[in-house]
């Protein structure tokens, strides 16, 4: 919970990791991978939040609990697993690893899992088993991941749809889709979000949360968001722009509010790449710069409350403390539009 200027905010961090990328659990690609993450961390974090590479590769449970819940204002955090077994022999952060942490701290975490449609019938049975064991409500999917001869998959492939049907049947209703950096040569365009469009209209009971709001394809993502009411945008990676590139951040948020709306945007830190403390503080203090308000309007505390926690709370049925205002905002910001007339 965060409080500022008499306003209270319930915080759900929609995307966190507890990874092990230390020297004992990585090959040369694993080393490149964590170096790449470290590049993001060091390029976009305020100096006082910078870690050294050693800590970044393998931080402790205590560190994570401290950063999220003691100083980071987070009320609930959602684990999004990333297996990457080709790079990290024991996995980067798997559902099983996350589950240990979640068990140690009841009520703090929401555990998500994943599925691999190219494992066919057997994978489907295993997925169901896994669900029985962990009871998750969401999955994180990497469509660009390689598997044997396959160079990636699409959400609307036959087998993927079988898995999505299973999700619907099991009540796994939140499908987080990573559309972002590729890690292998690809003949297909791995950022392409068209497949989300197909399945979002087919599986209307499921919610599709596009992580990183489709960046660097914000335009394609927004286009889908306009048409599919069950498509959401996760702010991981876009969030830290608030510090180093605030004007871009303002415009990204402005576009999302216009093309989607304030109910379909989810805050996330992508911990441990960035830490929620400064992101939450800066977001609550943030306002669209004056010269852009004609096009994008302004951010009210109600909008910020929804993005920071209420939207995710709805998706995951998280109980929100009664002191958090939840009424619909009267009018979100000013009239927004493209500058049709001379500026």
């Amino acid at each position: 919970m965060y409080e500022k200027d008499g306003e209270k905010y319930f915080v759900v961090d929609g995307h966190v990791h507890f990874w092990n990328a230390g020297p004992d659990n990585r090959n040369k690609y694993g080393k490149m991978f964590i170096d790449c993450f470290y590049g993001y961390h060091s390029a976009l974090s305020p100096e006082e939040y910078l870690w050294d590479e050693e800590k970044f590769a393998d931080y402790s449970e205590e560190t994570m609990m401290h950063d999220l819940f003691e100083i980071g204002y987070v009320d609930k955090a959602i684990f999004q697993p990333t297996y990457l077994l080709d790079f990290f022999p024991n996995g980067f952060n798997t559902t099983a690893q996350d589950a240990v942490m979640a068990d140690n701290h009841p009520d703090k975490f929401i555990l998500n899992s994943s599925f691999e449609p190219r494992l066919g019938e057997q994978g489907l049975a295993e997925f169901e088993e896994k669900h029985k064991r962990y009871g998750f409500k969401g999955v994180k999917l990497y469509t660009a991941e390689w598997h044997e001869d396959s160079k990636g998959w699409k959400l609307n492939d036959d087998w993927a749809r079988r898995y999505l049907e299973k999700c619907q049947e099991l009540g796994v209703k939140n499908i987080h889709v990573h559309k972002g950096p590729t890690i292998r040569p690809l003949n297909k365009d791995a950022f392409n979000v068209d497949d989300v469009d197909h399945v979002a209209s087919e599986f209307t009971e499921l919610n599709f949360i596009v992580e990183h709001v489709g960046l660097p394809r914000l335009d394609d993502f927004c286009w889908i968001g306009v048409q599919e009411p069950n498509v959401y945008g996760g702010l991981a990676v876009a969030m830290p722009f608030i510090y180093s590139r605030p004007r871009y951040f303002a415009q990204i948020i402005g576009e999302l509010l216009y093309w989607l709306d304030e109910d379909r945007i989810l805050f996330s830190s992508d911990y441990a790449i960035w830490q929620p403390k400064w992101l939450v503080e800066m977001f609550v203090d943030f306002q669209i710069p004056e010269d852009l308000q004609g096009e994008y309007g302004t951010l009210t505390p109600d909008i910020k409350r929804k993005i920071l926690g209420l939207n995710a709370a709805k998706l995951y049925d998280i109980e929100v403390p009664p002191e958090i205002p939840q009424e619909e905002p009267a009018m979100a910001g000013g009239e927004t539009g493209y500058p049709e007339r001379p500026l």
Binding site: M32, Y40, P181, N187, D189, L215, R245, P339
Partner: protein
């Protein structure tokens, strides 16, 4: 005699397809050696996980640009610290295409890469058109003015030059009588649809520009081992 200036000039025509900016401005050049009839170039991309298809396009384009410089008989372009650097570098030495370069674990062909390049050319065009329209709106033109304007009526500016070059790359009509505001297929946007067209084009531009900003920050951090936040944001 090959000069470094002529080499850099040639390289300034090579763009990151996704960011629509020259690799020289993006500071992707980590080393450049100009010798007798030969150029050795090293490129360093922001992260070792930059998509290999984009990396390949830039290396191939750079090599082609170097070989077009008068006097250059041999050009070598090597990629630093990329997870597929070995494959791409070997592919360049052997003059292989992307498909052959990644043949060991890839079944792509040149077509898919051309398709990817075409997607980004269209996006670059849409984005540059919006940028130019925005500048003109700021100068007092109305959206109706824009909708009814032809290329010949455009005021001179640097943005216009860049816009026309992107438009030409797509194979669209750039003659004086051709309508100005068109979609990537060259179809004119009707007056009543111009604002919505620009509204969406704005997201394309934002996507490209913010991604370029992100890549610059990551590259600077990688080169300096320290955060670079002093760099100014592009103002609109």
């Amino acid at each position: 005699m090959i000069t470094e200036a002529s080499v850099l000039d040639a390289l300034s025509g090579v763009r990151d397809p996704e960011l629509d900016e020259p690799i020289t401005d993006l500071k992707f050049i980590s080393d450049l050696r100009v010798g007798e009839g030969a150029v050795d170039l090293r490129l360093r991309l922001p992260t070792p996980f930059c998509a290999p298809n984009f990396a390949y396009l830039m290396v191939a384009d750079a090599r082609e640009a170097l070989l077009a410089v008068p006097g250059v008989r041999r050009a070598s372009v090597v990629l630093d610290d990329h997870h597929t650097a070995d494959e791409i570098n070997a592919g360049m030495v052997g003059g292989l295409g992307f498909g052959s370069t990644f043949h060991s674990f890839e079944d792509t062909d040149g077509d898919s890469l051309d398709e990817l390049r075409a997607i980004f050319r269209r996006k670059a065009f849409v984005s540059r058109q919006e940028k130019l329209c925005r500048a003109m709106l700021a100068d007092g033109y109305s959206s109706e003015d824009l909708a009814n304007m032809s290329i010949g009526g455009l005021p001179d500016s640097e943005a216009k030059v860049t816009y026309l070059s992107r438009r030409r790359e797509l194979g669209l009509d750039v003659s004086a009588t051709a309508p100005f505001v068109v979609d990537p297929e060259g179809r004119p946007i009707p007056e009543e649809a111009v604002v919505q067209h620009l509204r969406f084009a704005r997201v394309t531009r934002l996507s490209i520009e913010s991604n370029a900003g992100f890549c610059r920050g990551v590259l600077a951090a990688r080169q300096a081992g320290a955060p670079d936040i002093s760099e100014r944001e592009a103002t609109l």
